[in-house]
Amino acid sequence: MLEISNLQVKVGGKEILKGIDLSIQPGEVHAIMGPNGSGKTTLAQVLAGRVTYEVTGGSVRFEGKNLLAMKPEDRAREGVFMAFQYPVEIPGVSNAYFLKAALNAIRKYRGLDEIDAMDFVTLIQDKAKLLSLDETFMKRGLNEGFSGGEKKKNEVFQMAVLEPKFCILDETDSGLDIDALRLVADGINTMRGPKRSMLVVTHYQRLLDYVVPDFVHVLVDGRIVKSGDADLARNLEKHGYGWILEEAPKPQAARP
């Protein structure tokens, strides 16, 4: 589904990703872990199409298509979704309007008619229940005055409504208390299926207790230095990132 080959990215002239290779098949959940500043969020944002990141080398193919050549909106319409680490607040645009506009833009791209108003209401009611979201939030401004937890729930809620093929979850566990974490994780798990893949970006292992990944990759200084299964995440939790840093080759450190 997603093929990342030798991806290199600069931000503000600084090299952040130094050659990422990653292959994700349909139905797989991959976790990217790593210390702060290792490039996790950069990877997520580049895949979603943020223009402040400059791709200097490599390629990303999504279902065979050149993902990096697509506008962010076209990536979304093709089925890529990123749950933001810091969702933006937009007062004056209601959650309902926003979500309907997004859903219809995606439907139009796929040659479908606009969703019927009643069907839309039913759809959001169903998905809101999944995340124990109060329906009145649909009338509020997009993320306006939402707590950190509500924002993260809203991201997963949007994901549930838009039903993407490939989900990127960028630090979705940060800022969540244990109850909210469970709800969000349940929401994510409900969406797992043989045709949907996920890339879970996280600093801590705790989300992975609930959303158990098929593969775990450790990103250090812009490179994947170790890959394994869910046990790797548990080891990291127990021993920290130190032992991996020692094991990993460090070409950067060798420079004067």
Binding site: V51, E73, A76, I90
Partner: protein, 417 residues
């Protein structure tokens, strides 16, 4: 050499003075006003209040009195776009500054409420105006008010007596028709409210939308008595140049005022919004919220002045002006101002000028919404603070339409909100 603009208007006054209706006191006032106008001249950018707006383009146009314009084709159906859908209103229509009774319609109003054209009042009972006209919008220091005082022919007179509530909005519609001949109208309105119950309350909405060749210079003076409450909405969609001057005075304690403004310009339009709130009495509250949205090479001005006089203790004054620039060539001058002579007050002001938040644009695009639609949604959202202050739904819907007509890809936003 041709006469300059000032001399042209002075000469026009001299030649039409005999035809300007009114009793002796008014004729004397007109004479005195044209004298002040001649002494003051048109303001230049050296004048503090006009620092950011150059009047030269206005003064170059050889305007003729609007009475010469032919009001051809102004029929009720053509005014439909300027009404408020299902909203029931009494409506006074003025075409080129003159009252048009055949286009106007008065609904049943509570006893004692009077709506007339100023020209009719002057013909039938000029004494009604004597102690009010010129007492609030004062011409001594303002050349445009002086010119208007000297030359006005008509306008609306509205009187609401004590303890009377008019629930239905009253719509004053001013239409300009002139196309080939540049004309100038000088309408003058006077609204008087007696206290209703414990206080008098006025909601005033001004929606200004004119052709891109139009110039619009307006002054609104508000004089608030004890415990009165006034809300003034100013929604300006531009002409070539628009100047809205709002001047309010709290003359007795306990008053509250809201100034709620939006200006939206594009291409080479200019919109100058000058407000002056005078807290001359204690325990009054003013809340001012103005937002500007500027596109193309347009220019905007927000100049807000709040004066809190020495005895105006317990004043609360809040002023916010936020501006959104949609193009690199658009420009806005924002000058919030607060002058406080009392010591027990709560006052603050804030002003921002910015562009659309690119991280918000990206957020919307990352959900499948195309870039232009995302920008339109965010622009509409920027205006929504001001629009949501409008409590009369049909007016709010009309405003939404006006805003969205400039943001076609944001359509549907209003109805879902």
């Amino acid at each position: 050499m041709a006469l300059d603009a000032k001399q042209t208007y002075v000469a026009e006054f001299a030649s039409s003075e005999a035809n300007l209706s009114g009793p002796a006191w008014l004729r004397a006032m007109r004479k005195s006003a044209i004298g002040r106008f001649e002494a003051l001249g048109f303001p230049t950018q050296k004048h503090e209040d006009w620092k950011y707006t150059n009047l030269a383009p206005l003064l170059r146009v050889p305007f003729k009195p609007a009475i010469l314009a032919r009001p051809d084709g102004v029929v009720a159906e053509k005014l439909e776009p300027f009404t408020f859908g299902v909203l029931k209103t009494s409506k006074l229509v003025f075409v080129n500054g003159r009252y048009a009774p055949r286009l106007s319609y008065l609904r049943t109003l509570p006893e004692g409420v009077r709506i007339l054209s100023i020209a009719d009042v002057l013909r039938q009972e000029p004494e009604t105006l004597e102690s009010h006209l010129g007492h609030f919008a004062r011409f001594q220091d303002d050349s445009f008010v002086a010119l208007n005082t000297a030359l006005f022919l008509d306008g609306a007179y509205l009187e609401i007596p004590k303890n009377t509530v008019v629930e239905e909005p009253i719509h004053l519609l001013f239409v300009s028709t002139s196309k080939e001949l540049p004309t100038v109208a000088n309408p003058r309105n006077l609204i008087r409210l007696g206290p209703a119950g414990p206080a008098s309350v006025l909601d005033h909405y001004k929606i200004q939308r004119e052709s891109e060749a139009a110039f619009h210079v307006a002054t609104m003076s508000v004089d608030q008595d004890r415990n009165s409450s006034v809300m003034c909405h100013s929604m300006s969609f531009g002409g070539a140049m628009v100047r809205n001057y709002v001047h309010t005075l709290f003359r007795a304690e306990g008053g509250s005022l809201g100034l709620n403004g939006l200006f939206m310009t594009s291409e080479t339009q200019q919109s100058d919004n000058y407000t002056r709130i005078d807290h001359a009495a204690p325990a009054c509250t003013s809340v001012e919220l103005y937002r500007g949205i500027l596109d193309g090479r347009s220019r905007g001005v927000f100049n807000g002045n709040i004066y809190v006089r020495k005895d105006a203790q317990k004043t609360v004054a809040r002023q916010t002006n936020k501006n959104l620039l949609l193009s690199k060539d658009a420009f806005v001058d924002s000058t919030p101002g607060l002058e406080i002579l009392a010591d027990d007050v709560k006052c603050n002001h804030a002003s921002t000028i910015g562009q659309l938040d690119e991280s918000a644009v990206f957020y919307l695009r990352s959900r499948g919404i195309d870039e232009e639609a995302a920008r339109h949604m965010l622009t509409y959202a920027f205006a929504s603070d001001v629009v949501n202050q409008v409590k009369v739904a049909p007016i709010r819907i009309r405003l939404d339409q006006l805003i969205l007509s400039r943001l076609p890809k944001g359509s549907g936003l209003g109805e879902s909100l």
